[in-house]
């Protein structure tokens, strides 16, 4: 800490540093990452479909009376800025037939849980001695699941308050889908906790640094017999959890709530401008949070085989943060590819998968892991 003419008590220091971390994470990491994920989706989906996507951005100075438009460099990388300006300047319309209080509340309810869950994810080791996690609580993953369940409220309230049949159908479908897949979500990671013995996300990452990544034990040397036995349950856990994250974030193939071909725009049909932007950002923020949890639990968090942690210098601390977000970006790319590859599940197929298939697989997985652990001891 730099020397100040007065002393701050440790609690105040902690509060100030946490505040700084929160501001940095929200404004320097999450919001830019969300905007550029949207841009990446547009570009990647375009390239998959044999077209190009937005590759040029400019400022239309001719609208203000100048002779030439300003063409910004770096191709289309400023497109998210253009999107942000559009959302700010667009007319924010509240239809007459909506339930006004809940109509205004719903976008906030959709965005806040997605951002709140980032608080427990360790996105780096340490930087200048400060641990790179906002809230190092011992109930990390439980906090994530509890807050993620609140995300359902935003959608159901949006669908209901919009007072239109497409929104209502989208809201109802989304609610039942998210509730159904929360079972698989929670149960699929219980084997991880059985193996690691802790719910604290930073401890889980430290465990993976010592014993190798959960689904890739070779990153910390040759896996032991115990790890080889546990590898299949961990893989099943990974697959079920990833699929449940797809369903929780309303992402194809579990896309029915906002299926553009069936429901106009689903639960956000009646929203315009900034409120729609909040839904949109909330969905992508939930995706980023889901990917961060997957990376932390299964892919080793911020660690990488030959890279040291932040106690060896601030450069290593920054590299750890970069490694974490590189992994998250890779997973986001996978999400984008899956969206543009698979057809949408029909609603009864979706419910059947959630309640009959993944729920039972997750339960059996817990049983198998417990048996293996009992056998090894």
């Amino acid at each position: 800490m730099p020397s100040l003419p007065f002393t701050l008590s440790p609690e105040v220091q902690f509060a100030l540093i946490s505040l700084l971390k929160i501001l940095a994470v929200i404004f320097l990491i999450i919001l830019p990452l969300v905007s550029y994920t949207v841009y990446a989706e547009r570009r990647v989906s375009a390239l998959i479909q044999d077209r190009v996507g937005p590759n040029r951005v400019g400022i239309p100075m001719t609208l203000f009376g100048f002779k030439h438009d300003v063409n910004l460099p770096l191709g289309g990388l400023f497109q998210p800025v253009a999107d942000a300006v559009k959302f700010l300047l667009k007319e924010d319309l509240t239809p007459a037939h909506v339930n006004k209080f809940y109509y205004w509340l719903a976008p906030a309810l959709a965005m806040v849980p997605a951002i709140l869950t980032i608080a427990v994810v360790p996105f780096g080791s340490t930087l200048f001695g400060v641990p790179m996690v906002i809230a190092n609580v011992d109930v990390g993953v439980l906090f994530v699941f509890a807050i993620a369940s609140l995300g359902v409220y935003g959608i159901v309230i949006a669908g209901w308050s919009s007072n239109s049949k497409y929104s209502f159908l989208g809201g109802v479908r989304s609610t039942s889908q998210m509730i159904s897949y929360e079972l698989a979500l929670g149960l699929s990671v219980v084997p991880i906790f059985l193996v690691m013995g802790t719910l604290n996300l930073s401890e889980i990452v430290n465990n993976q640094i010592q014993n190798g990544w959960t689904i890739l034990p070779v990153t910390a040397g040759l896996p032991s017999g115990r790890q080889l036995l546990l590898w299949i349950p961990m893989l099943i856990s990974f697959v079920v959890f990833t699929i449940a994250i797809f369903a929780e974030t309303n992402r194809l193939p579990f896309d029915l709530p906002e299926s553009e071909t069936e429901l106009v725009a689903g639960y956000h049909t009646e929203y315009s401008s900034m409120k729609f932007a909040l839904f949109f950002l909330g969905e992508y923020a939930a995706m980023i949070t889901g990917c961060s949890i997957i990376v932390t639990l299964f892919l080793g968090g911020w660690s990488f085989p030959l890279i040291r942690d932040g106690s060896h210098g601030w450069v290593w601390g920054l590299i750890n943060i970069a490694v974490f977000f590189a992994k998250v970006s890779g997973l986001l790319l996978f999400f984008i590819f899956i969206r543009w590859t698979l057809p949408r599940f029909r609603y009864d197929q979706l419910m059947r998968l959630g309640w009959i298939f993944f729920f039972e697989i997750a339960l059996v997985n817990i049983l198998v892991t417990a048996l293996i652990l009992a056998y090894v001891h």
């Binding site: 375009a46 390239l47 998959i48 044999d50 077209r51 190009v52 590759n55 697959v239 590859t341 698979l342």
Partner: protein, 176 residues
């Protein structure tokens, strides 16, 4: 008679669905890299690349009036194009060719000929119906204006786009 169509039997790999996802991803990734490395070239980067030089001969651009090699304006204001135009973009006010003019026997010419380019749908019906071979759809497509009034092409603009056209039937010439 009710025809029952049997559902196709799915193999175990198809029912598991994960191998199909993998196969689908292979297709998607192949398209991704093929477009990224410019092996599939479908998109034209307008305005750096334009296809003005190799537009197909049947391309329908903006409609325009033509003069023939004798300098006569071909249009006789019969108003057939105005009648057939689906969005009613053409507005003609006919006038009389005065006494003493060289082509007095044609009798009519368009005093005012407006095509509202906002309404025009570039269908080409005016070119098809014209009995005088007077109106043709040219290759110009980038038509802009700053107000709705700017987007109406008047007679002089139409003759400017149209220019001279040779090889037309000279039905009004004197009999041999």
């Amino acid at each position: 008679m009710a025809i029952t169509i049997k559902r196709p039997e799915l193999t175990l790999a198809e029912r598991a669905y994960l191998p199909s996802i993998f196969a689908g991803l292979m297709t998607t990734v192949k398209h991704f890299f093929s477009t990224l490395s410019n092996k599939t070239k479908v998109t034209m980067q307008y305005p750096e690349e334009k296809w003005d030089s190799h537009l197909p001969s049947y391309y329908r651009g903006a409609p325009a009036l033509v003069r023939d090699e004798h300098g006569r304006e071909r249009c006789v204001a019969c108003q057939l194009c105005e009648f057939i135009c689906p969005p009613r973009a053409i507005k003609i006010i006919p006038g009389e060719i005065p006494e003493g003019a060289r082509y007095r026997k044609v009798e009519k010419f368009p005093d005012q000929f407006d095509i509202d380019m906002i309404r025009c749908i570039y269908c080409g019906l005016c070119e098809e119906v014209c009995p005088e071979q007077a109106i043709f759809l040219k290759k110009e497509y980038a038509i802009t204006g700053e107000s709705r009034a700017d987007m109406v092409h008047h007679k002089d603009k139409l003759y400017e786009i149209g220019g001279l056209k040779t090889g037309l039937v000279h039905k009004w010439n004197e009999k041999k």
